[in-house]
Amino acid sequence: MLNFKIHSNEIDKIGNFTKEEKDFRLKNLKYFNDTGFPNKKNEDWKFSDLKEIVSKNFNKLDIKSLKSEKPKIDFINDFEHNYIVITNGELTLSNFKYEEKSKVKLKSFINDNYSGKKENNPLVNLNHALSDKGYFLEVKENYKFKKILVIYYLFTEDLNENILNSKNKIVIGKNSEIHLLDYLINVSKKNFFNNVYEDVILGSSARLKNIYLQKDKSSGYFHKYSKNRLSAGANFSSFIFPTGLKFNKLDLEFNLEGENCECNLQSASFLSQQEHQEIKTRINHFYPNCKSYQKVKNVLNEDSKGVYQGKIFVKDEAQKTDAYQLSKAILLGERSEFDSKPELEIYADDVKCSHGSTSGSLDKDSIYYLMTRGLTKIESTKLLVNGFLNEVIDSIKSDSIRNFIKTKLEEQLLNEYKKH
């Protein structure tokens, strides 16, 4: 399936749109059709040749949207939480029983912004052209969520070589705070593509903590572009624990649009078989006295591939910027691969910026040490891998949520080791 082109009448099938919206969609459809899925000649995709990946794994990509039944969900019992259920991209259920209803707004959403310059990411163009579902979540000003909000992203069994395009928008009002758990449950057995565009806006001194986790392995091919805007004093932390998607690219942009913002991103992944995952970040320090921190850890088993492209941009007036970036990878598989491309573009002179990247096999001396204490080679490897990844998990403050995540990830790892 090398040439994936979409006819403009597909847009009419999605719905009736105002002229403005329709023009926006047509324009973006043209952008996409001009390039198709990006290949490695595109600098942003040089480690993730999506054209090749799609051609290899899909015979077709169906863009018509599915009408799914009311989903059955295994709700998490480990801790009290509010929830939203998103089924194949569409908002289907919600419950905010722990919160003041007047402080939260939630609705189905397609798009509210038809302007903007041309985006250089063909997947964003595709999303702009075809998005037909999504949600809008707003936390009003001066409100602190009492319990975490779990967003169950459910992917159903009837998915079969579909491509889903959805758009979400999250607005956290001034001085407000929310913790989110993006929890992906995927029961589809067939390959499908999920293409998400997300806008996140944090008002001044707002706080957002976000955890991204998958319940189990699946045959999903995911791309998410997420644009995060932080006003003065806002604080964003994200913990990303992706496991078991066939392909996953997270393209995350953070715009620090006021003083004293802080952006914190940590990720721990264990990939195996032919899984391919890229985390690409761009942190734009536009104002002084902001902090950004990124730590990306990968364990790569078998033929898997991990990619990290992290760019830090510091504008000339963004003095006293403190930006940190580190990626570490352990290669377990002889054919596994890790690529990293850090990039610093700094125009201010009074800044603290550091970056580092290491990758290699497990430390032999550590394995030797553990084995002299009676552990087998596999047990030693397991302990070291868990230790490597746990460092990120351990920085989650809530005990119940941390334990939940730990248990989930350990289950997944155990399944991996059982295979050998």
Binding site: D365, Y368, R373, L383, F388
Partner: protein, 244 residues
């Protein structure tokens, strides 16, 4: 307990041990002294089963050849090596690790595994004996431990795992006077008729605290002189050049 005959070991085409003989009976404590680079740590590594060496000669533990026995099996059979430079292992909690290790060894020896509570009791008692801050056990294994703390942690493991053949590779180096005494007490209180010790050290001082049955001098890959603790005192005066 341990029978080494004509042991040769080389790594990366460098011959390090060149026909080493030593025999240790149950209950005995042997000290090995010798110049830097003479092969003491190599001997300790080879006994632990470390991979990468080309080995010839005879290596018998409790009457059976150690050839083909892997590192972890040797540990399970009661061989314990306290490292000269204990490895820092990030992300691995010291106490959890110790419990995993102990239960692994107990299981291999046909003993019952310990539950968290009984383990806690043991580790509390032993770490107190060694004057270790219990909080250290919540930290990552050896990470950021001071030199002396690392050595104490090795002795703690020795006490908890209760091995039969104990090899201490310069455990006394880097210890302050009080710590040295505590570690020596730890060793002395572990001594009994069933256990054997091979203590590698540079300092006669340690042997004032831990009384060896035999002292050997290892130079250029073999034992060049053996004697009792008087040999250590003599060495202190003459240095290695004075012997032979």
């Amino acid at each position: 307990m341990l029978e080494i005959k004509n042991l040769n070991a080389s790594i990366n085409n460098k011959e390090i041990l060149k026909g080493l003989n030593i025999s240790i009976k149950p209950g005995e404590l042997h000290a090995i002294m010798g110049p830097n680079g003479s092969g003491k740590s190599t001997l300790a590594n080879v006994l632990s089963g470390k991979e990468g060496y080309k080995i010839s000669g005879e290596l018998k533990y409790q009457g059976k050849s150690l050839k083909e026995i892997s590192i972890d099996e040797r540990a399970q059979k009661g061989i314990f090596l306290a490292f000269q430079y204990p490895t820092e292992i990030p992300g691995v909690n010291t106490s959890n690790f110790l419990r995993t290790s102990l239960n692994k060894i107990r299981k291999a020896q046909g003993k019952k595994e310990l539950d968290a509570l009984s383990f806690l009791k043991i580790i509390k008692e032993k770490s107190n004996e060694l004057g270790m801050d219990e909080k250290m056990l919540l930290r990552q294994l050896n990470v950021g431990f001071s030199g002396g703390e690392k050595k104490k942690n090795e002795i703690l493991q020795m006490k908890i795992l209760d091995p039969s053949l104990i090899i201490l590779d310069e455990t006394d180096s880097g210890l302050d006077i009080d710590a040295l005494r505590i570690v020596a007490d730890g060793v002395n209180s572990s001594r009994n008729k069933q256990k054997s010790f091979l203590v590698i050290t540079h300092y006669q001082r340690l042997l004032n605290f831990i009384k060896p049955d035999y002292v050997h001098v290892l130079a250029d890959g073999k034992i060049v002189k053996s004697g009792t603790k008087e040999l250590a005192i003599e060495l202190e005066k003459t240095g290695y050049k004075g012997i032979n």
